[in-house]
């Protein structure tokens, strides 16, 4: 039934969040050493903050009480104090999220649009050179390390051709406050190569999924009927085929959401693009436990929520899933 589908999805999403919380909590407490120390016993944390941290996280209470306090604190946005910056973890994270979205959002959308178009075309021209090239590139691209491609692109476009900057996020001295337009232009200029990397790596995947979906749709009787009716090729592809073939793309998109929020770690590392990914890596290298925990948890939560939304969209678009 329709409503039970949504209820099931909501329950699943909540349970998934719960499991993520338990895993995170266990990881803090199962590791050798005093878990409480990971919250405050770092020379970088001021001693007067210790009392408050112990109170907020109930570090003197039994473990099960600590877990519920932990869950409650996470939902209230209290994830502890970052060792390195001495600021609340959530505050540090929220500063970085826009930067990650800046380089992941547009390439993902462009890759989907491009994938739909290429997939449709390749399926329609099945068996041609174009189809063969797309399939070959699509399988090969899965084996190319993203950071290596990023380095090669830097080598070609920044070192040899000198079109784009080597790394960084904006020209030093330019900020959103003093010169907003200059700042946006500078960021876009610096973001071009990371975006290109992410786009090149993701569009063939969408194109291949789309191609296979279109091929199976093209064999359906209603396509034959439409052709017999004399529907033009453009209308056939973009109205009759596309609507039915785009479904697997939605579930694939939901799986790539993880990449949109936290998976660009490697590319961010190459370009020194200080987003969520680089934050995670630097926090880990500095043994800033609360910050790593928070960053990973936020990534997982975003992924779960995005998956939930994608499931709803899929159920809304495709009645077979809703009632199946």
């Amino acid at each position: 039934m329709q409503s039970s589908y949504f209820v099931r999805r909501i329950v699943l999403a909540f349970l998934a969040i719960w499991v993520a919380l338990v895993l995170n909590f266990l990881l803090i407490h199962l590791m050798p050493g005093d878990p409480a120390e990971r919250f405050y016993a770092d020379p970088r944390v001021p001693p007067e903050a210790k009392e408050e941290i112990i109170k907020i996280f109930g570090l003197d209470k039994p473990l099960w009480q600590q877990f519920f306090l932990y869950a409650r604190n996470v939902f209230l946005g209290r994830m502890g104090i970052s060792f390195t910056t001495q600021r609340p973890v959530l505050e540090v994270l929220l500063e970085r999220i826009p930067w990650t979205l800046a380089i992941t959002f547009i390439p993902t959308l462009a890759a989907i649009a491009c994938g739909i178009w290429l997939g449709l075309y390749a399926a329609w021209k099945r068996g041609t050179v174009f189809d063969f090239l797309l399939r070959t590139f699509g399988t090969a691209v899965n084996s190319i390390p993203s950071f290596w491609l990023a380095m090669i692109l830097i080598m070609v476009f920044a070192y040899w051709a000198k079109i784009f900057p080597l790394m960084g996020m904006a020209r030093p001295g330019v900020s959103l406050a003093n010169a907003p337009w200059e700042f946006i232009k500078s960021v876009a200029y610096h973001a071009a190569l990371p975006m290109l990397t992410l786009f090149v790596l993701s569009f063939p995947g969408y194109a291949l999924v789309m191609r296979n979906a279109v091929i199976s749709v093209l064999g359906e009787n209603y396509i034959l009927a439409a052709q017999a009716k004399g529907v033009s090729q453009t209308r056939l592809l973009w109205r009759h085929v596309l609507k039915n073939a785009v479904l697997p793309l939605i579930s694939m998109f939901s799986l790539s959401i993880a990449g949109v929020f936290g998976g660009a770690v490697l590319v961010e590392q190459v370009f020194s693009w200080y987003g969520m990914g680089l934050l995670m890596v630097r926090a880990s290298q500095a043994r800033d436990f609360p910050l790593v925990q928070g960053a990973v948890l936020i990534t997982i939560l975003c992924t779960i929520i995005a998956n939930f939304v994608a499931d709803l969209v899929q159920g809304w678009v495709d009645p077979r899933i809703r009632y199946g």
């Binding site: 699943l12 998934a16 084996s143 936290g262 998976g263 770690v265 890596v281 790593v292 990534t299």
Partner: protein, 299 residues
């Protein structure tokens, strides 16, 4: 010659005829050759490598940051380490991670998926719930999280890949078992009193072998990439030489600023080729295991 080979294939009543067919897949055979070459390099690194990349004395300071030459076929890095030798030693970590992950994950996925599909009931529901939950967990952030606590090791990749990878496989295996369960040959096996264990692992599970072969190869290929990525981020074993770490060093020592292209190109090429050859070998294995892809008689 080709005609004769085809004749042999058609009429052969021997079991190995299906292996002969594999020679008609040049890409697959090339990949197999590359993997064997990597294996040889990994086992005999000391004999094959022209220099010892772990030995500081073998570093050629006078020839540091030099392009490919007769003395150093793939050039040297800024420390004067021979890149070819490092590449040869780097096969070890890549192959260990690729093979262990490629074996453990499909095994785990197949057994859990088979049990889930065969028995159904609450066990099935519990396992499939676990699958739904684990499938949404992002891999690389979790690896970083675990590495922060546990320390630097490539076994993190193996452990987390197995943990995050089995759900996808078990979902496929379960679907396959569910559809095969209703087949009449299973009914026949039941009627002559075969034990459930025999039915499950002897009759049902083999139908998933082609699928498992392809996914095992895909997982091995992905884990090679993940290990390289983790090493690149600086979470690899500090003592082992790995391709990802070579690229990390190239990045941090400014290979991109100095234009030392050989230091960037070759390690990445090695990662890509190994990852690709795992995938192609998967297709090769599928052909061995899948009776539907085979022509002629089975035996």
């Amino acid at each position: 010659m080709a005609e004769k080979a085809r004749e042999v294939l058609r009429t052969s009543s021997m079991r190995f005829s299906r292996y002969l067919r594999l020679f008609r897949r040049p890409l697959g055979m090339l990949s197999l050759l590359f993997l064997v070459a990597c294996l040889v390099c990994a086992f005999a690194a000391k004999r094959i490598a022209p220099y010892d990349p772990c030995d500081p004395k073998a570093r050629d300071i006078l020839f540091s940051a030099q392009g490919p030459s007769s003395k150093h076929p793939l050039g040297t890095d800024v420390f004067g380490t021979d890149i070819l030798s490092s590449l040869i030693y780097g096969t070890r970590v890549a192959l260990i991670v690729g093979f262990t992950t490629g074996i453990i994950t499909p095994l785990l996925g197949a057994v859990l998926g088979a049990i889930s599909g065969f028995f159904g009931g609450w066990l099935d529901r519990a396992l499939m719930f676990a699958v739904d939950v684990i499938m949404v967990l992002p891999g690389l952030p979790l690896m970083i999280l675990v590495a922060t606590y546990v320390g630097k090791s490539y076994w993190i990749v193996v452990a987390l890949f197995s943990f995050l990878g089995w759900p996808g496989i078990s979902r496929m295996v379960r679907a396959r078992i569910l559809s095969e369960k209703a087949a009449s040959y299973v009914e026949a096996a039941c009627s002559y009193g075969a034990h459930w264990f025999r039915i499950l692992f002897r009759h049902l599970l083999p139908s998933t072998y082609p699928l498992l072969a392809v996914t095992a190869a895909r997982i091995a290929s992905a884990s090679v990439l993940a290990e390289a990525g983790l090493s690149f981020l600086g979470f690899g074993d500090p003592l082992a030489i790995s391709w990802g770490k070579m690229l990390a060093e190239a990045q941090s020592q400014g290979a991109l600023l100095l234009g030392l292209w050989w230091w960037v190109l070759f390690p990445g090429l090695a990662i890509t080729l190994l990852s690709l050859s795992f995938i192609n070998i998967g297709y090769l294995l599928e052909e061995v295991f899948n009776p539907r892809l085979r022509c002629g008689t089975r035996w």
